[in-house]
């Protein structure tokens, strides 16, 4: 990973690029820096902290935030006294690990690469745009980014929300939406997609801080179109956060507050005072978008984001260069994470010829046998961490204390236990003193356990014969003012660790081989894309489809909002899938049964119709669930009862036909028909765009057609906002309705009548259009059967629930099972394609490796003790325990490859038959006993 680096040039062709990068000097040797932070404490110069949006002061030598990767400090040359004036250099002697190096120079490096992924993120809205709302003029007008830092517990004010003018806690707070988005005044016609949701989140967090605070969100449309996002809005409304549909015209000071002038839909002008005003600023294209485009020769769209198309959403205009994240269009975290996986799969496919080349496997000495009855010889190493620990904790006293403990054969102190030379010392001492357990009292096992375990392996010890004590993060850093008590706590923690160490046993390293084949369930656009992506990466898959033919919902679509022809793309996909030697397509097929676990599934699949129906068993390593969804048909608004009432999908079909009257002279469209709190409790994300797509088509065929759209929030997020604007320019009328005053559709003779309340004219209106088009939602296709068959959790709305909404958006809780498409949640075609590529990327990981590595700390069942009650099976959240017949008796058995080591089974087993590697009952009890044994060592 090269940080502090700029791309200067890119030459060559796909598979054979040369990238020239400039590595800016960090002035700190990354290999030596231990991220102790001493340099920042001593640096005398102030530096406005850009990470905290300029709300706090740091030093020129600093790290942006505690979790920064790499965890290495750097010097900002713009304010460093030495780099500006050749004075100071206080940091140089302060740094105990001699990491500071002012001699570093910028370095130009040429990299030989095969593929490029562009992920430069997004840029910030120009402050000039914000000035319209008093930003920069009134201290109590802040951006949402500043407000985010303000509300963060680890931020500059530790989560305290204050007015900048006088430090008071705001009692009335306003969010103004669409600042710098949906605003042609600053040439940002698009919607930034994320601001409504983050404003709601920030409002909810603010309410958590102070339930009394009064919050109003001023908006045009609340665009919470993401999966389960509407629920957040409902939660916000339930705790009293107000949503006002109004455009704020002005923010002016009024006594010590700010007065907002706004106009509501009914034409009233209102004034309201607030203490703090938060501007929900949009996401702009990255500052250097044009420069990137110049270097890589990719095309940008009119807003300077990377130009792509719906069927190849991550492919730039240059082969070999793909894009991921907000540079492709404004988007939130789950979608950015999904795109990053998808981009990786595209790059990996193009590089499959050289996969694994240049990899060198590390070898270890033969592991020394440690038997259960061998004498326990513990080595205790107490780390000073420079002065991070030793300035508070008396490390010598801790080491001496450990030295007096039973079984401790050797003890010492290290200046930095993690340094290269300390590793050599540890290895030497293990051999010299025949140590068979190692306890290191230093920092967090979360960051350093792997490093020390590696040292143990290098010394010929099983890596699990290791225990770590965190006397830095849990002692010296948090009890800095109480050195004696911190030392006592350190001793106690070491005592507890030594007690556990006496009982730890070597655990075997397990790997499970993988069958390099995927089962893809559902052959719509998601399933086909996933199977083809795997094929391009070199892997076979079995693609099963319950219908007669592949294609799924794409059969119902004819064009995209951007005008791409869907049917020709579908044909290409179908051709590719049917011709691919790596994709085995089974139609009229369903999954009957699946056994096994990641890497080693075995499924029974029934396929064919009637007499030709056959069952076959397929062995496969992974499963991609792409079972899709379908149009929801609400029993409302005379759908199915009147020929003049159709769904958007039916209208699309009609418009793609040849009938002369296919684009009627007058249409009323009703959005959210049956959705958002009606039959369906969620937003289906695609319906607003679907309506717009049909509107533009109608207008193209019949420009005189009069169209009225009755909506709740138009959710034309991202660049689809342009289509919304276009429709309004063409004279289409958009009228919002409230949920408690829904439109009514009745039949009167041959005519159809739509009655609704016009919130602009404030009166009831009746229309008799030629056609009523309903924007109905999307429901998942039977997720129930599969969720039972594969033990997959689903959401309250019956879509599959991903393992982690933000960080693992295409993985399911069961290892080796991935999800994409409508089965995960409603989404448009481009997002489905990206998600399918992402699912294929994740599924390819075990397939590429060829084995699954099992962490040795998984659970294991002592079958003699097991009474076969099955409690563990019902409690395991990962489907990692199964019941087996052993000598005619029911016995539990752990599937090590699926186990996540949580220990729920062990905690609940009534006969203590289940044990956790490295966390046995005996070991934890020994820690508890040692905790109480303050006098006894």
């Amino acid at each position: 990973m090269l940080t502090n680096a700029d791309l200067l040039a890119l030459e060559g062709t796909p598979g054979n690029f040369t990238a020239t990068v400039n590595l800016r000097p960090r002035y700190i040797d990354a290999d030596s820096c231990t991220a102790c932070g001493l340099c920042t404490q001593y640096c005398p110069r102030h530096h406005v902290d850009p990470y905290n949006e300029g709300l706090s002061i740091t030093r020129p030598i600093h790290i942006d935030y505690a979790q920064a990767v790499p965890a290495t400090y750097y010097i900002d040359p713009s304010s460093c006294l030495f780099l500006q004036h050749e004075t100071c250099q206080i940091c140089v002697p302060v740094c105990q690990s001699h990491a500071i190096n002012f001699k570093q120079q910028p370095e130009e490096r040429k990299l030989q690469i095969g593929a490029v992924i562009l992920s430069p993120g997004f840029g910030k809205i120009d402050p000039k745009t914000l000035a319209k709302f008093g930003y920069g003029k009134h201290p109590d007008v802040v951006t949402s980014f500043e407000f985010e830092r303000m509300t963060t517990a680890s931020g500059p004010f530790m989560g305290e929300i204050k007015c900048f003018s006088d430090g008071r806690h705001p009692k009335r707070l306003a969010f103004i939406q669409c600042v710098g988005s949906r605003d042609i005044g600053c040439n940002n016609g698009y919607c930034s997609s994320v601001c409504c949701m983050y404003a709601i989140k920030e409002a909810l967090v603010t309410k958590e801080h102070d339930p009394e605070v009064d919050i109003t969100i001023f908006y045009m449309d609340i665009r919470t179109q993401g999966k389960d996002f509407d629920a957040a809005r409902e939660r916000a409304e339930a705790i009293g956060i107000k949503f006002v549909r109004a455009k704020v015209a002005d923010v002016t000071p009024w006594e010590n507050r700010l007065q907002l002038t706004y106009a509501t839909l009914d034409g009233q002008h209102k004034f309201e005072p607030f203490d703090l005003v938060v501007l929900s600023v949009g996401l702009e294209s990255p500052k250097d978008a044009k420069k990137i485009a110049d270097i890589t020769r990719i095309d940008l769209n009119k807003y300077d984001f990377c130009a792509t198309n719906a069927f190849n959403p991550l492919q730039t205009s240059q082969q070999g260069i793909v894009v991921a994240g907000a540079f492709q269009g404004p988007k939130d975290i789950p979608e950015s994470v999904t795109q990053s996986s998808a981009a990786a799969s595209l790059a990996a496919a193009s590089l499959k010829q050289v996969r694994g080349r240049g990899v060198e496997m590390k070898t270890y000495p033969e592991e020394q046998k440690v038997a259960a009855d061998d004498e326990v010889r513990i080595g205790v190493f107490v780390c000073h961490c420079g002065i991070n620990i030793s300035s508070v904790v008396d490390c010598a006293a801790v080491a001496n204390y450990a030295g007096d403990m039973k079984n401790v054969t050797f003890y010492t102190e290290n200046l930095y236990s993690c340094s290269q030379d300390a590793q050599e010392v540890i290895k030497k001492k293990i051999k010299e003193h025949k140590l068979n357990r190692v306890v290191i009292a230093a920092c967090s096992p979360r960051t350093h356990e792997p490093l020390f375990q590696e040292t143990l392996r290098d010394a010929g010890l099983n890596r699990n014969l290791f225990e770590m004590v965190n006397i830095r993060d849990q002692c010296s850093w948090v009890h800095a003012g109480e050195p004696e008590l911190a030392t006592i706590k350190s001793k106690d923690l070491v005592r507890m660790a030594v007690a556990k160490a006496r009982l730890i046993q070597p655990l075997p390293e397990q790997t499970v081989p993988v069958t390099a084949k995927a089962l893809v369930i559902g052959a719509g656009v998601a399933g086909m894309t996933a199977a083809l992506n795997l094929a391009e990466q070199g892997f076979d898959s079995v693609l099963i489809e319950k219908g007669d033919a592949v294609g799924g919902n794409l059969h119902h679509l004819h064009h995209t909002l951007a005008g791409d022809a869907v049917q020709s793309h579908l044909q290409t996909l179908v051709d590719k899938v049917t011709k691919s030697k790596k994709v085995d397509v089974l139609c009229n097929a369903e999954l009957v049964q699946t056994a096994g676990f990641i890497g080693n599934f075995s499924s029974v699949i029934a396929s064919g119709k009637g007499k030709t129906r056959v069952e076959q068993t397929v062995d496969h390593g992974v499963i991609i669930v792409a079972t899709g969804g379908r149009e929801h048909r609400p029993d409302k608004y005379l759908l199915g009862k009147s020929k003049k009432v159709v769904t958007q999908q039916e209208l699309e079909k009609q418009l793609a036909g040849k009938a002369k009257t296919r684009a009627p002279g007058s249409i009323v469209m009703i959005q959210c028909a049956g959705s958002r709190g009606d039959d369906l409790n969620y937003c289906s994300k695609v319906c607003c765009n679907h309506a717009l797509k049909n509107i533009l088509k109608v207008k193209e065929i019949n420009p005189d057609s009069q169209i009225v759209v009755l909506y709740r929030d138009m959710r034309t997020y991202g660049f689809a906002e342009d289509a919304y604007m276009e429709a309004r320019k063409l004279g289409v009328v958009f009228i919002p309705y409230e949920v408690d005053r829904k439109p009514e559709v009745t039949e009167k003779g041959a005519k159809i009548q739509v009655r609704f309340f016009d919130s602009i004219m404030q009166e009831e209106v009746v229309m008799s259009p030629d056609l009523v088009a309903l924007s109905v939602g999307i429901v998942p296709d039977d997720t129930d059967t599969l969720s039972k068959l594969l033990k997959l959790p689903v959401t309250a709305n019956n879509f599959f629930l991903e393992a982690h909404v933000k960080l693992r958006p295409v993985e399911l809780a069961v290892s080796g099972v991935y999800v994409c498409g409508l089965a995960h949640g409603p989404k448009p075609v481009d997002e489905t394609i990206v998600q399918a590529q992402a699912a294929a990327a994740k599924a390819a990981i075990p397939l590429v490796k060829g084995y699954v590595k099992v962490d040795p700390i998984v659970s294991s069942v002592e079958q003699d003790k097991c009474i076969g009650c099955g409690l563990c099976v019902s409690l395991c959240p990962y489907g990692a325990i199964v019941m087996q017949k052993v000598d005619g008796k029911r016995k539990a058995e752990t599937i090590a490859a699926s186990c996540k080591a949580c220990g729920i089974c062990a905690a609940h087993c009534p006969t203590f038959a289940i044990s956790m590697g490295g966390f046995t009952n005996e070991q934890i009890n020994s820690q508890i006993v040692a905790f109480g044994a303050t006098g006894d060592r």
């Binding site: 680890s154 965190n470 993060d473 850093w477 911190a486 949580c902 609940h908 109480g932």
Partner: protein
């Protein structure tokens, strides 16, 4: 008076993935808290057998903290 202040002995069971990480973050941020807790790291609070809690009380704990 200060000598008589109640200084409880607390045993904390911290989930590796969240609360133990939070304790690390507290350290990195130099948040100061009373040094009266000793910790046991577990891979999930689901690992905590009620027997552990009772055992800790027997061994002299004044309180048990679980974070997960």
């Amino acid at each position: 008076m200060a000598d008589q202040q109640f200084n409880p002995s607390i045993l904390g069971f911290l989930c590796n993935w969240c609360c133990y990480a939070a304790a690390d973050a507290a350290g990195v941020s130099r948040f100061q808290y009373p040094p009266s807790m000793r910790t046991v790291r577990v891979m999930c609070t689901g690992r905590i057998d009620p027997a552990f809690v009772l055992r800790a009380f027997v061994e002299g704990a004044d309180g048990i903290f679980t974070g997960g």
